[in-house]
């Protein structure tokens, strides 16, 4: 049974969900959503909903993984079984293990882990609804949760993906565009210090397209970053008003 490929770019130049090529999905963010975590955040990019929780710095268990000169950062990216259209096994897949690793490496480049030797900082990222761009939404959520937990960091990291569909570079791709598109380029960008901390490419782009895609991703990340800062600001104000 073969499914026919849907038309991803409409005749009026807009995308399948009515967005312009360089338009983000509606984004919603909230921090401090979990009582028992030291820091937490809920991030939604359109239909993608991700929850991140940070515990620590705390004692490392098991002791064998502790590092003498810095805190060990542990990241678990996980998709809930009900997050996809088809029931997913709750056991971590190869893909989830890989994404945990790349997100951890992205966060390691901004977190000052040397302040807490022999301790651990645990980040749990739970995808509760998947509609494309879960790793980038997860990275954004994790970064907000770390800030909420008071972990010292160089900068916040904003995640956003650029894709190529029917020859057009599009910002913040959704599930459909990811599935039928020609390329997917997730980017994690620490806007304040101007560092790209996560960069993956699935598919093929020409050098020229790649440069344009990076520029597009940076512009998108700047918008996400601005929203992240606003979210952090708002929590403080609401605490004052209560």
């Amino acid at each position: 049974m073969s499914e026919s490929k849907p038309k991803l770019i409409r005749e009026d130049g807009l995308r399948v969900d009515g967005r312009k090529p360089d338009e983000l999905r509606p984004i919603r963010m909230e921090i401090g959503v979990l009582k028992n975590a030291n820091g937490s955040a809920l991030v939604e990019y359109g239909g993608t909903k991700v929850l991140a929780a940070v515990y620590g710095p705390r004692e490392v268990i098991p002791k064998a993984v502790q590092l003498p000169d810095r805190a060990v950062l542990r990241v678990r990216y996980h998709m809930a079984p009900f997050s996809t259209t088809e029931h997913k096994s709750p056991a971590p897949t190869r893909r989830e293990i890989e994404l945990s690793k790349v997100i951890r490496e992205a966060l390691e480049s901004v977190v000052f882990a040397d302040q807490f030797p022999r301790a651990s900082i645990d980040v749990f990222i739970e995808v509760i609804q998947a509609d494309g761009g879960t790793r980038t939404a997860g990275l954004t959520a994790a970064s907000l949760a770390l800030a909420d937990a008071g972990i010292p960091m160089k900068d916040l990291v904003a995640g956003v993906a650029v894709g190529k569909v029917e020859g057009v570079l599009v910002l913040d791709i959704n599930e459909l565009e990811d599935e039928y598109g020609e390329a997917d380029l997730p980017v994690g960008y620490a806007v304040g210090i101007g560092e790209i901390v996560l960069l993956q490419l699935n598919g093929v782009l020409t050098v020229e397209e790649f440069k344009k895609a990076i520029e597009l991703a940076k512009r998108g990340a700047e918008k996400v970053y601005a929203l992240m800062k606003e979210t952090l600001h708002k929590k403080y104000l609401s605490a004052l008003e209560s």
């Binding site: 000052f112 301790a119 909420d148 008071g150 160089k154 304040g192 210090i193």
Partner: protein, 241 residues
């Protein structure tokens, strides 16, 4: 950062986030990467950035960030309240709400300690609370506690209130102003531990409850202006002038 001429971009008590530029150093070129963990700032190329989510504290030629949320990081000579979590042959394991487990040697609490005769459990059991002082701690080993000293030891009366460790400076207040207000208005004997515990011995139960409520007000909005006045009004309303 002292004696440096700063061009400050933020106001005192302004909210800042990791990566926010706080100030620029006007003279002296090309500072490499430098970090001041106790001030929660870092320097790159003459610019000073925040490394935490909190409020800026700007004074003459100095800038720091006070984070909203921190864990307790042990320091020598800090007075802390710990909960006994484990009992060994010669020492107790104590939870002091830090990333590191603290230890209290039995010889510190028991005269002429001998593991053959003494059962540690009969002195301090799991769940007991102690007011202790940190005698040794560095990056390579766990904090070591002592309960020898004036006022230190097992907590057997009063109430213990738990707050975020980052709120302790606000509960003490500038030159102890908030602390004095709380003690004089409630009549409680209050001990503030650096790791976010407050031990109070109050004349009656009601005063203890009012004190707990007042401390929760401080915990919820530590950076509000006029907080001391608000707490004062609250205490007067509940307890009378």
């Amino acid at each position: 950062m002292r004696d440096l001429k700063l061009k400050v971009y933020v106001a005192d008590r302004q909210i800042v986030r990791p990566g926010d530029t706080l100030a620029e150093i006007e003279e002296d070129g090309n500072q490499g990467f430098k970090r001041l963990p106790e001030k929660h700032v870092y320097l790159v190329n003459n610019k000073i950035y925040s490394d935490a989510y909190g409020v800026a504290s700007v004074s003459e030629n100095d800038i720091a960030v006070i984070p909203f949320n921190t864990v307790y990081y042990p320091r020598r000579d800090d007075v802390v309240i710990g909960v006994i979590e484990g009992i060994g042959i010669t020492a107790w394991e104590v939870n002091i709400r830090s990333p590191y487990k603290a230890y209290l040697n039995a010889s510190d609490a028991i005269e002429n300690f001998n593991p053959l005769y003494h059962d540690l459990k009969s002195y301090l059991d799991v769940g007991d609370m102690v007011l202790a002082k940190i005698v040794a701690f560095d990056r390579t080993r766990d904090p070591l506690l002592t309960i020898r000293g004036k006022g230190l030891g097992k907590i057997i009366e009063g109430i213990v209130i738990e707050v975020k460790p980052s709120r302790i400076p606000r509960i003490i207040g500038k030159k102890g102003s908030m602390f004095n207000l709380l003690t004089t208005k409630t009549g409680c004997d209050i001990t503030v531990a650096q790791n976010g515990f407050i031990w109070a011995k109050c004349p009656d139960e009601y005063r203890g409850e009012v004190l707990t409520q007042a401390i929760k007000i401080i915990e919820e909005k530590p950076h509000a202006r006029g907080l001391t006045e608000e707490v004062k009004q609250f205490l007067e309303q509940k307890l009378g002038g």
